[in-house]
């Protein structure tokens, strides 16, 4: 017998398992998207599902994002529970009309008479040179829309549990994955389970600062916190997990203990969700802040393609650690810190065996 306490699988496999279990437990669930049944199976997240559940429940899609989204909404209000899959979050932009005008509002406009149980899975496509149109982080875009739930799990455990929760939920849920998380292994129990769609998680407790991170930035945040702990700087790291709603009670409770708020996002700074976290803290817990809050986010221009340009684009653990130490007014020997957080892989790959380009 397998000991579930020891089962480490990649996030891609955890997601695939959640989809398989959702298809298994509810015959109304269908999975549709460009490339879903193809040999690469959307980075492995849909691999084998069509073989297992058949072509009447797991489909490829024409290249018609807006139309297919409307078609899935129509199916959702007619007794199905569609899960749409996009290889890139950028492709869902073509479907913004259906997502924003219909999926998010259908229930509301008709005074709660009809639900839209729809999940839209998208991926932030960081990689080798995907460039300006294939690696955007658009969580704030979706998070702005009342009527949508928007989640961005980091761990494989949460990815599986939140995806199952999203599929069981009666509302449209945008499920945002990050390409750099797919290959990371985590303890993931095999039986189906859910993780709430509206709760942040404290992944490391600390007393000197609250570092709220989204998605892949949690990985960098934990590295930064670990390095800073060597210098007596004690960072609390919160994985926001959900973008809409934001779990403000958990964040505010932490800020009340630490007095310092840093938010690390995978997206641009202006108009981003990091600013929303800070605004919400300022509104209700201004008195708890001992220093100005900080946003660590992308510079306000699209990601370029060249690796020589990308190397200055994404804030990493070293960047985070330096900024947080400086912000707290703490001296940290910089060369030593840099050595501690030295990354042996190039700036455009998540792990050594990543062979690009996507």
């Amino acid at each position: 017998m397998r000991d579930d306490k020891k089962r480490h699988i990649t996030q891609a496999d955890a997601i695939r398992e959640a989809l398989a279990q959702a298809l298994q437990e509810d015959e109304r669930v269908i999975v549709v998207g460009e490339g879903v049944p193809d040999p690469k199976g959307v980075f492995g997240t849909t691999a084998g599902l069509q073989q297992q559940f058949g072509p009447s429940r797991v489909f490829d899609s024409p290249l018609s994002e807006n139309g297919m989204t409307g078609i899935c909404i129509g199916a959702a209000i007619s007794g199905m529970r569609p899960v749409m899959v996009h290889q890139r979050i950028d492709f869902a932009l073509l479907a913004m009309d259906q997502i924003v005008n219909n999926a998010a509002k259908w229930r509301y406009m008709f005074a709660g008479q009809v639900n839209v149980p729809l999940v839209i899975m998208v991926i932030v496509g960081r990689g080798w040179g995907p460039g300006p149109q294939h690696a955007q982080s658009l969580q704030a875009f979706f998070g702005h829309i009342p009527g949508l739930k928007v989640v961005m799990p980091t761990s494989g455990y949460d990815a599986k549990g939140m995806l199952l929760a999203a599929i069981r939920d009666d509302n449209p849920v945008i499920f945002i994955q990050h390409r750099w998380l797919h290959g990371i292994e985590d303890l993931v129990p095999e039986p189906p389970y859910t993780v709430p769609l509206d709760r942040a998680a404290i992944c490391r407790s600390g007393k000197d600062a609250t570092l709220v991170a989204f998605s892949y930035m949690v990985v960098e945040a934990l590295l930064a916190a670990e390095a800073l702990s060597q210098y007596g700087i004690d960072i609390e790291v919160i994985d926001a997990r959900s973008v809409r709603p934001l779990d403000m009670p958990t964040i505010i409770e932490s800020v009340r203990r630490t007095g310092t708020l840093v938010v690390a996002d995978t997206a641009w700074k202006t108009g981003g969700i990091a600013g929303e976290v800070i605004a919400a803290v300022a509104e209700t817990a201004f008195d708890a802040l001992r220093r100005p809050p900080v946003r660590i986010a992308l510079p306000d221009y699209p990601v370029p393609t060249s690796p020589y340009l990308v190397k200055d684009y994404y804030p990493d653990a070293l960047y985070l650690a330096r900024h947080i130490a400086a912000h707290l007014g703490r001296e940290v020997p910089d060369a030593e810190l840099a050595e501690r957080l030295f990354r042996s892989t190039p700036c455009d790959v998540p792990q050594k065996d990543f062979r690009g380009p996507f």
Binding site: Q133, P299, Y301, Y308, P357
Partner: protein, 316 residues
Amino acid sequence: MNFEKAFGSMLRVRRVEEAIADRYAEQQMRCPVHLSIGQEAVAVGVCAALRKEDGVFSNHRAHAHYLAKGGDLKAMLAEIYGRENGCCRGVGGSMHMVDLAAGFLGAVPIVGATVPLAVGAAWAAKLRGENRVIAVFFGDGTFEEGVVHESINFAALHRLPILFVCENNLYACYSRIDDRQPDRPIHGVAAAQGCRTFTADGNDVQAVFDVSREAVAGLRSGQGPAFIECATYRWREHCGPNLDDNLGYRPQGELARWESVCPVERAAAFLRAMPDGAALIESAEKQIAAEIADAFAFALEGPLPNSADLPGYLYA
């Protein structure tokens, strides 16, 4: 059409793509590449019917279109290598290319994204009274995007000088056309939308040129949009340098059948039957090899771009 020139242009695209494929494993071209190997005749045949001042828009699979329209090879390779001397200074890479001087007005990888832009460019040409034709290349899969049909409708309504070129290579990534579209011809839809439509064997450069010339002549005399569907085939994987027939998404023997109607080899065979054909091919090969070696050197010696310049590209 100058057949020797068209052959040389196809051979050049082929050898460039092969060189990219050969060197891709060195991991110095750190961006996705979608190679045009097998589809050279469409780009070359269409562009041979265009003038320099005519415009071309393209997509993720842009190398052949860019080169056939006269785009600068050195700047293309430097772009793929992420260098400052690339055609977009490293911002774009293989999937985002431009060479305004050559009338290559832009290629981006969001499927269907450039089709309305091409219509807009044709509209502007008409509004400004310019004798200019615009062509846009896109795949069979792209024909499924709503924006393509909105664009064709507008172009037909305003009788715009635009040439829609659909490269039907039967696949979108790993998905075969029968899994995405009903059994009816793509060009039939375009005809119903008000285009003058043409079909061509997309692996026969002369055939592609012949219909393109007729289509473009109509555009110049104000007959409204034209649509060419070219049957062709992608030899390598959708994205990347390798063969991928081992994955089993294409029926056995299909690739071999298309390889046997290689557009470059067919043109070469035609030339070889001419008195000095063999010598001509040999000298083309030599000249192209030298040019490619030069262009790779240019790219690899290119200065590195500076990220401090990026914000300056954002707003006028």
